[in-house]
């Protein structure tokens, strides 16, 4: 495989890779094109693969008729805060799991794995009741708390992989120089880990930004809805208005795409290091 490559082999390879690229990007292209057509042009024959006239009407409708701006802000606030707090908390637990040996360690790792295995929907009902008792239903702060808990297990495993790639000697030297363990972590390790931590944050952010079922369950007033919950509302009505839907989809996908483009290399590293080892 790594040896010589025949011309025919190369041709097959690039044909296939090219086809897959087209297949990968076409749905994204199509949703963007749909969103930029005038609402009337979406439902005309023959289907236009390039809009005859570009229009921002679908987008204007989102902010005029629907309160899409509010949903975007809600999602942005919840995902940013929850993603950041979860990353901070996971950094601490990942550090301990990477650097210390203790008896309950494998049990804790198992506990993290179990949360990934059990369908979270089994918790949906009881969580709703719990949040009712805490008076945190339909509350952005409450949703943040839940999202933090959802992000922590995987984020910990991912960050642990990054920590394990850094030699112990680094913080040992810092501690010999008189820094406390926490000081060594913050002042010496974290700067080295920065790409990993940024990737972990982005991963958390995107997960919270995209989360649907918890948000649908916990947020019921229109002013508190996050973007996915609002999109779900667009479906519930019998006929989907594909004009607004496609514009809303583009606005939802765009930020996560930008973030992923920015950090995909580190996320890939985290996924492969974290999950293969962990």
């Amino acid at each position: 495989m790594i040896g010589k490559e025949s011309t025919a082999g190369r041709a097959t390879k690039f044909t296939f890779l090219g086809l897959w690229l087209v297949f990968s990007l076409f749905p994204l292209y199509w949703i963007v094109v749909t969103s930029l057509k005038a609402p009337g042009d979406i439902f005309t024959f023959p289907i236009a693969y390039w809009p005859e006239r570009f229009s921002l009407e679908n987008y204007q409708g989102l902010f005029g008729k629907a309160d899409f701006g509010t949903y975007l802000v809600n999602s942005l606030v919840v995902a940013t805060v929850a993603g950041a707090v979860a990353t901070a908390i996971s950094t601490l637990s990942a550090y301990v799991l990477a650097r210390f040996e203790f008896r309950s360690k494998s049990a804790l790792l198992m506990a993290a794995l179990v949360t990934q295995m059990i369908p979270s929907f089994i918790a949906l009902g009881p969580l709703y009741l719990l949040m009712t008792d805490l008076r945190l239903v339909d509350n952005r702060f409450g949703l943040m708390l839940v999202y933090i808990a959802v992000c922590i297990p995987f984020c910990t495993v991912m960050l642990r992989g990054f920590f394990e790639n850094i030699p112990d000697a680094l913080e040992e030297a810092a501690m010999i120089d008189g820094l406390s363990r926490f000081g060594a972590l913050v002042r010496v390790l974290l700067p080295v880990m920065r790409p990993g931590i940024v990737a972990a944050f982005i991963f958390n952010f995107v997960n919270c930004w995209n989360e649907l079922f918890l948000s649908v369950t916990l947020m019921n007033s229109d002013g508190n809805k996050t973007v996915p919950t609002a999109l779900n509302g667009f479906i519930s009505s019998f006929n989907i208005d594909w004009g607004s839907m496609s514009a809303a989809a583009v606005l939802t996908i765009l930020p996560t795409m930008v973030l992923f483009a920015f950090a995909s290399r580190h996320i890939v590293q985290g996924l492969t290091a974290g999950s293969v080892k962990g």
Binding site: T34, I89, S93, E101, P119, P153, I176, G178, L231
Partner: protein, 329 residues
């Protein structure tokens, strides 16, 4: 401070800040001191508290609901009903379809994802111009939520104005537009296509990472022995990365099993509840307020996945042997 004997360090460091914690390094990692215990506890505590309250507590509370008559529509009677909820699941006329669909969903997603992902990984192994860009581009589907992917493909497979029908008609493969999502069989095909679109990248990434760990010497040796492409693939590449393959597949099985988002967005389980998999069905039952039955279903999922976890552990245990065999080949 200076009396501490550090095993690995010969010279005393020249600069030492005042007030820092004394380095206690004797028997590092083995000796369990109270202080170390406190550090571990303090660093683990925030994570543990969050996960305990918002993940484990509801999960355990949910598990006991499986054995009770728990229905939001009538909370006056939440008595214990033994296995009643499970009986309700098994006797539900939808259960058979749901199981079939789940199996089809898992196998029909995993197999193409693995095969295509493997091929892409092999093809990406050799550096070529724009390889980095290519990887970044095919990574994009990963930034999108399953639910939105469902919506995207719902539009693509739209019976009247969908692009899939249009392309098939232009290519002369079909005469009449197909109402993809109106027939459970074609709807299942459509959701599988969407999931393959989504999941291939993950396999490609994991497998590519594993491939890059294979030493070149193995291939050189194989080439010297005159091994052909197919032989090299089956006797060197696959055995060498077998553990990663097994782990990736099993992790994905668990994950896809628990992945209702795409179907939820694309068909909502319809038409007539005929494209539900276990988890989408569970969400529907939860939304109807029958927490008891939904929890019973959840426990069944856990039981099924535990079987997979056993495979998972067996696969990891084989790690070292496989590695050696790979080197010897």
């Amino acid at each position: 401070m200076s009396t501490t004997s550090t095993s690995g360090v010969r010279k005393a460091p020249s600069v030492r800040k005042e007030g820092g914690a004394p380095p206690r390094k004797t028997g590092r990692r083995r000796e369990f001191t109270t202080r170390r215990g406190l550090v571990v506890a303090a660093f683990m505590a925030p994570a543990a508290v969050f996960v305990a309250i918002f993940t484990y507590y509801p999960m355990i509370a949910g598990s006991q609901m499986a054995f009770r008559n728990w229905n939001l529509t009538d909370l006056t009677d939440t008595s214990w009903v033994g296995l009643g909820n499970f009986r309700e699941v098994f006797t539900d006329p939808a259960w058979g379809t749901v199981l079939d669909n789940t199996l089809l969903w898992v196998v029909g997603s995993i197999v193409p994802q693995l095969v295509i992902g493997f091929a892409i990984a092999l093809w990406l192994r050799r550096r070529f111009r724009f390889r980095g860009l290519y990887q970044a581009l095919i990574f994009f589907p990963w930034a999108i939520s399953g639910f939105l992917i469902g919506i995207l493909f719902r539009w693509l497979f739209n019976s009247e104005f969908g692009v899939v029908n249009d392309l098939l008609q232009r290519a002369g493969l079909i005469d009449e537009p197909i109402a993809w999502l109106a027939d459970p069989r074609t709807a299942m095909i459509a959701v599988l296509i969407a999931n393959v679109w989504y999941g291939v990248t993950f396999f490609a990434i994991m497998i590519l990472a594993a491939l890059q760990s294979i030493p070149d010497e193995l291939y050189e040796a194989a080439a010297l022995d005159g091994a052909g492409k197919a032989r090299t693939l089956f006797q060197i590449t696959i055995p060498y990365i077998r553990t990663t393959l097994a782990l990736t597949v099993l992790l994905r099985v668990i994950w896809i099993f628990n992945f209702p988002d795409l179907i939820f967005g694309m068909t909502g389980g319809g038409p007539n509840d005929e494209t539900h998999i276990v988890t989408t069905w569970m969400i529907k039952i939860t939304q109807q307020g029958d927490y008891g039955k939904a929890s019973a279903l959840g426990l069944l999922v856990v039981a099924i996945l535990l079987v997979f976890a056993v495979f998972f552990l067996l696969a990891t245990r084989e790690k070292k042997q496989t590695g050696k065999r790979g080197v010897r080949a």
